[in-house]
Amino acid sequence: MSVFKDAGHLFRFAGLFVLAFLIFLVVRHYVVPKSFGQYGHYRGAAMGEIAAHPVKFAGHETCETCHSDVADKKKAGKHAHVNCEACHGALAQRMPAPAAPPANLYDRLLTFAGLKLPPDPPILLHADDPSTVKPVLPDTAVLCVRCHTASAAKPKGFPQIDPANHYPGPPCGSCHQPHNPGMDAGGVK
């Protein structure tokens, strides 16, 4: 065909373009994570990875499944809305999920280069194994004053004391039962 006479160099050039485009598609397939663009301009799988972080505060509902007696005592007093771990601290730390094999080329390269972070070491706490792990009893002398030390910055209706003048010496727990701290509630546990 006379139209394509002496056009061989153009076809070779076009062939190179097609080849480069195919290489681009292959590289892109391996480099761009599968979930990228699933919900938007980000990696959808990242949400699952963030959601896989271990829970450390078990939540008062978990505590109340065993300690319903304490929950009932609290309900009757002024600490009814203070959750267990507000004073007792975080009581759950689950084992981190076993490390998944690297999902894509990007991850594999990171792992190969030693740039992947090692997983957190597991620490089991009370809510994970209530029979063997006993939580440390909070020290009322330290704990109570953290909230109840008088300060002009605190809301006026919040119960506040001056630790230097409010029966200094004995710990708060000598008079106040922490789960129901009112004096009419019977004092010591």
């Binding site: 301009h41 990242a46 949400m47 972080h53 450390k56 809305h81 975080a90 957190d120 300060s151 910055a153």
Partner: protein, 243 residues
């Protein structure tokens, strides 16, 4: 069973689709959590905050936040009635161990807990050059730390100063609204640890969430409304001096 060529041609793609679903995950792994059913935010009731620092400590424990960095922190304002534009603001170690005792004078005091506002139109996600930070379909601003380059554009873009570069991971880090907890039906660590209920997780898509009644009956404000960020940290009784 005899299958004709026509039936086979129909069955093969159907089988391929079914196999793909099987390989996608077992039903036990499927979460009951539906992204489109939620739109998360937080209510902060300033008159209830006593500045105990429980939220800051709980957040650091729950999320392994390094010392000296904060996903949430508490500020104490000391404001005179004559000069509201220059309040005295302190936040020693993010308020983690509480605040020094304040003596009554002619100025007013109050505490303001701060955290990521999980803006619906967040400036931080708009500036990310690689799509590492994003607003999830349930309204939480998150960072994909595998994708983040650590360029810190987002740290500069956040009008509320809620982001930092993690000193060890060298990527952007911020409040995830305890995404690992709220997707399991738990509240955030800061809300769990707050002794006075000054912080409450709010699901704006849940018609039964108490946030709706609260927003209708209280004077609620967001921080820096002039920035039009669509902030979802709602502050009850917010003073005009808060920046």
């Amino acid at each position: 069973m005899k299958i004709s060529r026509r039936q086979l041609l129909i069955l093969l793609p159907a089988a391929a689709v079914a196999w793909e679903s099987v390989m996608a995950g077992t039903p036990e792994d499927a979460s009951n959590y539906k992204l489109t059913d939620h739109w998360w935010g937080m209510l902060i009731d300033i008159p209830k905050c006593i500045g105990c620092g429980n939220c800051v400590r709980a957040c650091q424990t729950e999320n392994d936040v390094p010392d000296g960095f904060f996903r949430t922190w508490v500020e104490r304002y000391h404001v005179s009635d004559e000069n509201m534009t220059e309040p005295e603001v302190i936040s020693p170690d993010g308020g983690k161990e509480g605040f020094p005792v304040a003596q009554q004078d002619d100025k007013k005091y109050f505490f303001v807990p701060k955290l990521c506002n999980h803006c619906a139109d967040s400036p931080c996600t708009q500036v990310c050059p690689v799509g590492a930070t994003f607003i999830s379909p349930d309204g939480v601003v998150l960072v994909d730390q595998k994708y983040c380059l650590g360029c810190a554009y987002c740290v500069q873009a956040c009008p509320y100063g809620c982001r930092y570069i993690h000193p060890k991971k060298e990527v952007a880090d911020k409040c995830t609204l305890c995404y690992h907890r709220i997707t399991k039906g738990l509240t955030t660590a800061c809300c769990e640890a707050c002794p006075t209920g000054a912080r409450q997780l709010a699901d704006l898509k849940n018609p039964n969430d108490p946030i709706h009644a609260f927003l209708k009956t209280h004077s609620v404000q967001v921080l820096k409304p002039q920035m039009a960020t669509g902030a979802k940290a709602f502050y009850n009784d917010l003073d005009g001096s808060v920046r």
